[in-house]
C-alpha cells in the first residue's frame, strides 16, 4: 500500500475527529455558559471561561487524533488501515472522554464551593 494513501486516510480521519470534537463542543456550550454565569456572576467572565473550555476540548481532541501512528511499509494493507482508523478515532474519543470526566469532577467541586460562597 502506498504511503500517500495512508497519509490521505490519516488526514480524512483527522477531519472526522475534528468534526466530532466541534460537535461535542456545540452540544455542551449552552450548558457550560449557564454554569459559568452562575459561578462567576458576570457575563464577560462566563464568556471567557466558556471559550477557555472550548479551546481545551478542541486542542485535547485534536492532539489525540494527531498522535496516532499508522502501519506503513510491507506490513500495511487494507485491514491494518481499518484498524489504524479505528485506533485514531478511539484515541480522540477517549481523550475527549477523560477531559470531560475531569471537567465534570472539577465542576462538581466548583459547584459545591459556589454554593458555600452563596450561603
Amino acid at each position: 500500500m502506498e504511503n500517500a494513501t495512508i497519509f490521505q486516510t490519516f488526514l480524512l480521519t483527522l477531519a472526522v475527529c475534528l468534526m466530532l470534537t466541534v460537535g461535542l463542543i456545540i452540544l455542551i456550550n449552552k450548558g457550560l455558559k449557564q454554569f459559568y454565569e452562575k459561578v462567576s456572576q458576570d457575563h464577560d467572565i462566563a464568556n471567557f471561561f466558556t471559550r477557555l473550555t472550548n479551546i481545551i476540548l478542541l486542542l485535547g481532541g485534536l492532539s489525540a487524533a494527531m498522535a496516532s501512528s499508522y502501519t506503513t511499509g510491507e506490513d500495511a494493507n487494507w485491514l491494518t488501515l481499518t484498524w489504524d482508523i479505528a485506533d485514531q478515532l478511539e484515541e480522540s474519543l477517549s481523550q475527549l472522554f477523560f477531559t470531560l470526566m475531569i471537567f465534570t469532577i472539577a465542576f462538581l467541586i466548583l459547584h459545591l464551593m459556589a454554593k458555600r460562597t452563596v450561603k
Binding site: 495512508i6 497519509f7 462567576s40 471561561f49 477557555l52 473550555t53 486542542l59 492532539s63 494527531m66 498522535a67
Partner: protein
C-alpha cells in the same frame, strides 16, 4: 548525504514550531479581551496575572513542539532522510504534542481563574454583609 532531504526535514521541524506558535497566538486572540477579563477576575496585580497567563500559553505551545525529537535513540535520522511521509508524521507528532501542552496549561489556568473568581465573590459578599450590618 542527501542535502535536499535534510533541508526538507528542517523545514518540517521549523514548520511544526511555527504552527505551535501560531496556535498559541490564535488561542489568545480567541480569548480576547484577555486583559480586561483578567483585570475583573484578579483585581490586584492584574498585569502580573495577565503577563504570566500569556507567557505560559506561548511557552507551553512552543515547549510542546520542541519536546518531540526527530532523531532516533542513537541520535541518527536515517529513517527520515528520503522519506517525506515519515518526516510529515514527525511534524504532525510535534503539533500534537504542542496542542497537548497547550490544553494542559489552559486547563490549569481555568482552575486558577475560577478559584480566584470564587474567592473574590466570597470577599465581596462578606463586605456587603458587613456594610448592611453597619446600616
Amino acid at each position: 548525504m542527501n542535502n535536499w532531504a535534510e533541508f526538507h526535514i528542517s523545514i518540517v521541524y521549523f514548520s511544526g514550531l511555527l504552527i505551535a506558535l501560531i496556535t498559541s497566538v490564535l488561542s489568545l486572540l480567541y480569548l480576547r479581551p484577555v486583559r480586561a477579563t483578567i483585570n475583573i477576575i484578579t483585581g490586584q496585580l492584574a498585569t502580573v496575572w495577565n503577563g504570566s497567563f500569556k507567557m505560559t500559553v506561548m511557552l507551553g505551545g512552543l515547549l510542546g513542539a520542541m519536546s518531540v525529537t526527530f532523531t532516533d535513540c542513537g541520535g541518527g535520522y536515517d529513517k527520515l532522510v528520503g522519506s517525506p511521509y515519515h518526516s510529515a508524521i514527525k511534524g504532525i507528532e510535534q503539533v500534537s504534542s504542542s496542542f497537548n501542552y497547550l490544553a494542559i496549561v489552559m486547563g490549569i489556568w481555568l482552575i486558577i481563574f475560577i478559584t480566584l473568581r470564587l474567592t473574590s465573590n466570597k470577599r465581596m459578599r462578606e463586605s456587603d454583609l458587613r456594610a448592611q450590618a453597619k446600616k
